[in-house]
């Protein structure tokens, strides 16, 4: 712990912690997004498909966030649920240039939201319509209509938000992160 962290803690300024789970199909850019958000010295230069998961930490202006970056490959998706209980927020990443698999993404999303460990809890869901820089990429509006995000409205307990993003440059990421950390802080403070 550095001096300023200690000082901050002493002054009662330490940021609150929150757990989020980062899911979405393989190759959608989850790891790249998290990598961009991480502090400089822990950034990795060599991103390979995730096998299983890794835990990463980053901070927003309000929170210190622990993210479980899950593997999106088909055969590992059934392992996501082991990490549902502790997660307070969900980041769902979509490759907006991968129109072909939009239906698969929708299917996974439905399963996620209807999972017993998720469905009855108040959990904010942040969507990144990633790879907006790719030429064939579709807009975030088109993505939300393809995923029928408006239906989430009916669930009441799942505030959601979608951002178009480019994980390579970081464009759009901060907006999303600030949104979800505001949501999370409300939940954490409200739960007190």
């Amino acid at each position: 712990m550095g001096f300023f962290d200690k000082l901050a803690k002493w002054l009662g300024l330490k940021k609150k912690d929150a757990n989020v789970i980062v899911v979405g199909l393989d190759n959608s850019g989850k790891t790249t997004i998290i990598n961009h958000l991480k502090p400089k010295e822990t950034k990795s230069h060599d991103i390979v498909p995730t096998i299983g998961f890794t835990v990463e930490k980053f901070t927003s202006s309000a929170l210190s966030i622990t993210a479980f970056d899950m593997s999106g490959q088909g055969r590992y998706r059934n392992l996501w649920e082991h990490y549902y209980t502790e997660c307070q927020g969900i980041i769902f990443v979509i490759d907006s240039s991968d129109k072909l698999r939009m239906v698969v993404a929708k299917e996974e999303l439905d399963q996620l939201l209807n999972h017993p460990k998720i469905t009855n809890r108040r959990i904010p869901v942040l969507f990144f319509a990633n790879k907006m820089d790719v030429r064939e990429a579709i807009s975030s509006v088109k993505v939300s209509s393809l995923l029928q995000l408006e239906q989430i409205e009916n669930m009441k307990n799942k505030p959601w938000h979608i951002c178009a993003s480019n994980a390579l440059t970081g464009e759009g990421l901060m907006e999303g992160v600030e949104w979800i950390s505001d949501q999370l802080r409300d939940i954490i403070d409200g739960g007190k």
Partner: protein, 874 residues
């Protein structure tokens, strides 16, 4: 007072172990705490330690529970606490085999192994390799290669050792890491160098040439690591062993040079290797012995222990080596380290003179109680070899053994003693009565069923033939009254043997057996009923066949035959003659080396080589109607010189009326594929070749089999002959790298050595535990007798050896052992001839000036068999 006592007891049980009372279900419940955020590293670390403790205690955890605990544990990756993280690595390794979906931590571990925190990198590699299977190996390959050549020694070592473990699953991938391993061998860290050499050797170990190069390269370019040197010495001595190399080999020079190394561990390893080499003579030993001698008087107990243990092992092979260290050994007798003292004494016992036995035995009994079972067994084995060496000392030694039998000790220790006593009895007829007496006493209070039944079996076999058989009856009958069913059954069988062999004991044995007719156990009752009935008939032949000598079939074979019989029920009764016989391992009656594992192997019913052959032949449709396999020749005969283009071995399989020759062929040319391979046989007179079963394809270095089936001559006395053989095939040239063959080939052939069919091929070795009984049982009806002068034979031992080999029969009553200094000897052989005819041979041998004369008497249930056997030697 009461409280105090209880505390003390608890202390004894727990031994101050805080984890002593752990409950599995409670600990598993506690692992749920891992799911809570924020993580409490101290608490979680403690729980994880408990879990690890349980697993290490051998506690078994179900897959579901283990998986749940495992996933909970993965959440601990959030915490950066180094102690907790390292516990997690351990947890992953321990649970990798019991939980499902353990690959979930792959990326997390890869992150740690490539991360900045050095203390995590090595352990992460080890954990990663424990969860990685062949299918996943590709994805970590790049990182493993990098880690092997990492600057950090701990990382490099971890990667090298983990690669070794991985190679158990997939040799192929690891092979691609050879360049990295090579680079790591030149590391200046001693551990890395050692581990790298280990991996390098492992990658190449099936390629002898490469291994030879490896040794010669590294023996010159001096290694820094003493451990690597030790490994290199081991590799070199293994190579020498495989090649049968002598001391002119450069390998030997290398090992000998290591005797002058500056590190003690290397010096020891070299000396150890030299005295253990197969072909060492006094000359080579002379360099190694002074080293061991010096170590024997080293102030370091480890060196003393290592040296004395090595000497102890080779004491029988190289007595001279040991005697040159006598002075040092005598000093070690009183070593405060009891393990060293035990080894010193037993070494001296093995090599010392008869006069020193009493003194040494006294010395050792002074601390027998202080040493562990493991070393007690060393003592037992030393005593056994002493007994065989100094038969006259058997009284002192037997008494010692029997007092050991009465002492406390575990099963292995007791078993070693019992086996030693049995070996001594078998080797030395004079020790028989005393030995049986001690064993009788032992079974009066023996908690090990296995040992009790073993001894009862021995009593049944040997007891009736002692001068006073009656004295054993009481001990045996006591078992019937006091013991569990298995022991009772064995006792009943032993009793029946006394009744069958000793007429004067028959009435009392029958009475005792009748008392068992109402036993509560089925087996005991059945045996008693059977024996009582057989004994009532008062017929020697029945006694011999059903009580004294018993079944001769192979248990595995009997099981299979009965199973087949129930699958295809027929009106005809089950014919025991169709069951393959129990083949006697050739070494059965040889002197057992102390500590030999022969006895272990025979404890279980195992499929013999012949059972395996039978199964393989049964799978060939062409042989489906040959009936059951009677005998397979034990060792394959080489029909080619070594290192020729093709290698062919022959095994002969004898059926009722046919013989199948199995040719195992290997093609050693990498630019050829052979197809339609057969072996043509030019039959001896009376034999007819009936069928060839070809080997369709014989690619480079992949052994294949072809069969030739021959009908035996009609004349029952014509059973031997010589067959000339030719390998015939179609050759196709092929690309040595891909193995892809041309479309066209041409016919070719290759002349092989002749195959001999001898009398022994028609006879199966079968032991008759009571030869006399069996001799009476068959009777003189088909007896034939002849006298021979064996002029080329120079000793009785040689005559015995030759006859056994010629006849292919089993020596009984230990008659294959000629007592020293005798000028005459009787050899008893038994066997079963093709067709299921019992055959017995008695050969009376006498030394004369012109060699050995032999009177050969053959009895058999078939007249032709007697004829064949008498003419076998001629």
């Amino acid at each position: 007072m009461h409280m105090l006592r209880r505390d003390k007891k608890e202390e004894e049980e727990g031994g101050g172990n805080p984890f002593h009372n752990l409950e599995k279900s409670v600990v598993l419940q506690e692992t749920r705490l891992f799911n809570e955020t924020p993580i409490n590293p101290k608490k979680c670390g403690h729980i994880l330690t408990k879990l690890l403790y349980l697993i290490n205690q051998g506690e078994s955890i179900g897959t579901t529970e283990a998986t749940e605990a495992f996933f909970a544990m993965t959440k601990l990756f959030q915490a950066k606490d180094p102690v907790l993280r390292r516990l997690v690595y351990l947890g992953i390794k321990e649970m990798s085999k019991i939980a499902n979906d353990v690959i979930i931590v792959t990326s997390s571990l890869m992150k740690d192994m490539t991360g900045k925190d050095d203390q995590f990198r090595g352990p992460a590699i080890r954990a990663l390799c424990s969860i990685t299977d062949n299918t996943m190996l590709q994805s970590i390959e790049r990182y493993m290669k990098q880690a092997i050549v990492d600057k950090n020694h701990a990382v490099s070592s971890a990667a090298l050792v983990s690669s070794l473990h991985l190679s158990k699953g997939s040799q192929d991938v690891i092979k691609r890491w050879v360049n990295e391993a090579q680079e790591a061998v030149s590391s200046d860290n001693i551990m890395v160098q050692y581990h790298a050499l280990g991996l390098l050797y492992h990658i190449r170990k099936y390629d002898r040439l490469a291994v030879t190069k490896l040794v010669s390269k590294f023996s010159k370019h001096s290694l820094k690591s003493p451990y690597a040197y030790c490994l290199l010495i081991r590799i070199a001595s293994k190579l020498m062993e495989e090649e049968g190399a002598g001391t002119d080999s450069p390998m030997f020079d290398f090992i000998e040079n290591c005797l002058r190394h500056k590190s003690e561990i290397v010096i020891y390893e070299a000396a150890h290797a030299i005295v253990n080499l197969k072909n060492t003579t006094a000359k080579e030993l002379s360099s190694a012995v002074p080293v061991l001698q010096l170590f024997c008087s080293s102030p370091k107990p480890t060196l003393r222990f290592a040296a004395i243990r090595t000497l102890n092992k080779v004491a029988m092979k190289h007595p001279s080596v040991v005697s040159s260290c006598n002075l040092e050994l005598e000093n070690l007798i009183t070593d405060t380290n009891r393990s060293i003292a035990t080894l010193a004494i037993t070494t001296l016992l093995k090599t010392g003179s008869e006069s020193s036995v009493d003194r040494l035995m006294k010395q050792i009994s002074s601390f027998m109680n202080e040493i562990s079972d493991e070393f007690k067994i060393v003592v037992v084995q030393a005593i056994q070899s002493l007994c065989l060496k100094f038969p006259r000392k058997h009284n002192v030694l037997m008494n010692f053994l029997s007092s050991m039998l009465r002492d406390e000790g575990g099963f292995d220790y007791k078993k070693a003693i019992v086996e030693s006593v049995i070996t001594i009895i078998e080797e030395n007829p004079e020790a028989k009565e005393a030995g049986l007496g001690h064993l009788c006493e032992f079974i009066e209070d023996c908690e090990h069923t296995v040992l009790a039944t073993k001894i009862l079996h021995l009593l049944g076999r040997e007891g009736p033939r002692t001068p006073t058989p009656s004295k054993y009856i009481r001990f045996i009958y006591n078992r019937v009254i006091l013991e569990n069913a298995a022991v009772r059954a064995a006792a009943v069988t032993a009793l029946a043997k006394f009744g069958a062999h000793c007429e004067e004991l028959l009435p009392s044995c029958s009475v005792l057996l009748e008392r068992c007719l109402l036993d509560t156990d089925d087996e005991v009752r059945d045996r008693a009923t059977f024996y009582v009935d057989v004994l009532k008939q008062k017929q020697k032949a029945l006694n011999s066949a059903y009580i004294l000598n018993g079944l001769q079939v192979s248990v595995v074979g009997l099981e299979r035959a009965l199973h087949n019989y129930t699958l295809e029920p027929s009106e005809a009764p089950f014919d025991l003659k169709t069951v393959p016989l129990d083949t006697q391992p050739v070494s059965e009656q040889k002197v057992r080396e102390p500590g030999d594992s022969v006895s272990k192997a025979t404890d279980k019913v195992v499929a013999s080589t012949q059972d395996i052959y039978a199964e393989r032949l049964a799978a060939v449709p062409e042989f489906s109607n040959l009936g059951s396999l009677f005998k397979s020749s034990s060792l394959p005969v080489e029909l080619t010189e070594s290192e020729t283009e093709y290698m062919v071995q022959c095994v002969k399989h004898c059926f009722g009326r046919y013989m199948v020759f199995q040719f195992d062929c290997t093609n050693t040319l990498n630019d050829q594929v052979l197809e339609n391979v057969t072996v043509h046989m030019d039959p001896a007179e009376g034999f007819d070749v009936m069928k060839y079963v070809q080997c369709p394809s014989l690619p480079y270095n992949k052994p294949g089999t072809t069969y030739t089936m021959v009908r035996l001559p009609e004349d029952p006395t014509q059973v031997t002959g010589t067959f000339s053989c030719t390998l015939k095939f179609i050759v196709k040239d092929c690309d040595p790298n891909t193995g892809e063959a041309d479309d066209d080939g041409y016919e070719d052939e290759y002349v092989l050595e002749d195959v001999e069919v001898t009398v022994a091929d028609h006879v199966q070795r079968v032991i008759k535990p009571n030869f006399g009984g069996a001799w009476e049982e068959i009777g003189p009806e088909n007896e034939l007798e002849d006298t021979f002068a064996l002029s080329t034979v120079k000793s009785l031992e040689e005559a015995v050896k030759n006859i056994i080999q010629f006849m292919g029969m089993q020596p009984c009553e230990r008659s294959d052992k000629v007592q020293e200094g005798k000028s005459s000897h009787s050899l008893f052989l038994s066997g079963v001839y093709r067709g299921g005819h019992d055959a017995l041979v008695r050969a009376k041998l006498a030394m004369s000036d012109s060699g050995v004369t032999m009177q050969l008497t053959v009895r058999s249930t078939d007249p032709y068999v007697s004829e064949v056997l008498v003419t076998a030697i001629g």
